[in-house]
Symmetry: C2
């Protein structure tokens, strides 16, 4: 347990590429996507509990507040902050920072998305502990994941030399956007790290860095913390911008960001193909759910038997079959990203209840 | 309408290669597999009604009697004969023959499976009318389907010269078993016909031909007709043999079988691939059921949305997706036959309720 360490869990995102499991009304963080028996947000909270104890703040959409409270009954009413609308990560994490700055002058906060999967909790906790030490020294700290392959779906962090004042932290020279395959290979070769959007810092450091870029934005967030009754009025006026762009990139350019290398397995489960990679075991067909419901002959890929019905797959390689109570998806690992076009078509045709 | 013509409809067969639509408890003849709004047995009865009016006799398993009566409410109680157990086609059609021989001395019967699909009813009726004329002249008559391709899944009929006494009928030299692809090509080239198991004859002719091969079998069938109370006792002692082997093949060798060429489209819907061929229209994905439930992107094949759920298919060619209330099948047109291995595995594992 780390004194005054607060775990902030932004729980947003529709996750349309995981349809039909993930829905607008039930985003992916509310689902058990690893077969662990815990939903992603519950697993995120479990992973942070040894560090933060009960100092947890979830920031989520108004529509998902009740579901979050139900899944995390140990949280108090003031630990689940409902955003009136989605305004990207700077507003969400910045609001948490403003609330914590007011609540606990010695607070260090770490922000960890509710819908990521991490495979080595002990190493994660070690990395966060190191990051907290750097944060206390005044750094904006990110945790840089060791790439397992030249992924094109993630942003990268370019590390520099070790920082003087904290063991195990390096300076960050630059955050770079999702690269092409060719560029990704050079990044991995050069020791770049995946940017998992994990940031650890003192709340005031984050808000002050924001204030240097956009003083009104920082003042608005601190204003809401001082008078929560103004949330509904002020929130719609806040810029829609990612924390990376609003703060992390300019701060890196100014030499004020540190990275702690994380050696744990990490995935943001962008689609069913990455879920299959994450869960794959020795069997050619990976099953998320009750394997007793799945029958296969000459098949490989991912099957999610989510409605209690028997699912039989014969003679298909790298297939994805996702069965839910009101919708069924059949695709391939290769085409898994294109599920979002189905969701878009359903919405266009007025079948919103399915999306 | 043809005086004294009786339509006999053997309604048997599990149809495991059409699982999960077809089940032991609900075989394929009870399903609408063409999207016509009529089940296969209803369509069979509709097709025969202009010829036989209400002279219809269905022979089915004890377990399916109630479903048949429900689907064909116009039939009287004595028009649906329930077999105590499945004993192949000779016993089923032979029993119908014995009942009709006793009921109507001038009867001519035609036997047509309950689960076949025919696409040109007028041509079918013309062929049957010709067959009835040949049957009245004492022939065992079969209707030979004009092959559309060198199928390996059907038996073939080798026709001989025209018979003297009936316009439009040829002698049958031989019935041959399902051939290899190479042999099938030579059959089609040589003018062989598909054997669709359609037989038209006077009941006494069928039973006398059977009596020449197996006098006890013929006597047992006539005994049941004379005293239906003995059915339960006698039935289990009857040989399990197809009418083709028991009567048609030896009768052909003796020069007593005629064939009437049928120019109508015909299929026994052996699996989902043949169903797709039968139903395929202009769209790459053929839908049996409510097309509004199906969403596809870069897909082709057959989708059966049978549970009311939305079915989305992305990036799969020649795929088969069959959705039912308690089981789902995903396979390819090429592997459609292998569905029976899934059914076998489910039975082995004690999941009989699904098969």
């Amino acid at each position: 347990m780390i004194d005054h360490f607060w775990a902030v869990i932004p729980a947003g995102g529709a996750g349309t590429r995981l349809w039909p499991v993930s829905r607008r009304t039930s985003p992916k963080f509310l689902h058990d996507l690893t077969g662990s028996g815990r939903t992603l947000i519950q697993a995120t909270r479990d992973r942070l509990a040894p560090l933060a104890a009960d100092r947890v703040l979830v920031v989520t959409g108004q529509a998902h507040r009740d579901a979050v409270v139900e899944q995390l009954p140990e949280l108090g009413a003031d630990q689940v902050v409902a955003e009136p609308s989605a305004r990207d990560s700077m507003a969400a994490v910045g609001l948490a920072a403003a609330l914590l700055e007011a609540r606990d002058p010695d607070a260090v906060m770490g922000s960890f998305a509710a819908d990521h999967v991490i495979t080595d909790d002990a190493e994660f906790q070690r990395a966060v502990s190191t990051a907290v030490r750097a944060a206390r020294a005044g750094w904006l700290v990110t945790i840089g994941i060791e790439p397992t392959h030249p992924a094109t779906g993630f942003g990268y962090i370019k590390p520099g030399p070790a920082v003087d004042d904290v063991d195990g932290a390096l300076g960050v020279l630059e955050f770079v956007e999702k690269p092409s395959a060719q560029v990704a290979a050079t990044y991995v070769e050069a020791g770049y790290r995946w940017n998992a959007g994990m940031f650890v810092m003192r709340p005031g450091v984050l808000l002050d860095l924001l204030g240097e870029q956009d003083p009104d934005f920082a003042a608005a967030l601190r204003g809401i913390a001082a008078d929560p009754a103004t949330l509904g009025e002020v929130w719609p006026t806040l810029p829609k911008i990612a924390l990376d762009h609003a703060v992390a990139e300019p701060a890196a350019a100014a030499g004020r960001v540190a990275v702690v290398p994380g050696g744990f397995g990490w995935d943001d489960i962008g689609d069913f193909a990455s879920l299959e990679t994450l869960l794959a075991g020795d069997e050619p067909v990976t099953v998320l759910g009750d394997a007793g419901l799945v029958r296969t002959v000459d098949a490989s890929g991912l099957v999610v038997p989510g409605s209690g019905r028997t699912v039989a797959v014969v003679g298909l390689s790298d297939v994805v079959v996702v069965d839910t109570g009101d919708a069924l998806l059949v695709t391939t690992l290769e085409r898994a990203q294109d599920v979002k076009s189905i969701v878009a078509a359903l919405q266009e045709d007025g079948h919103d209840h399915l999306t």
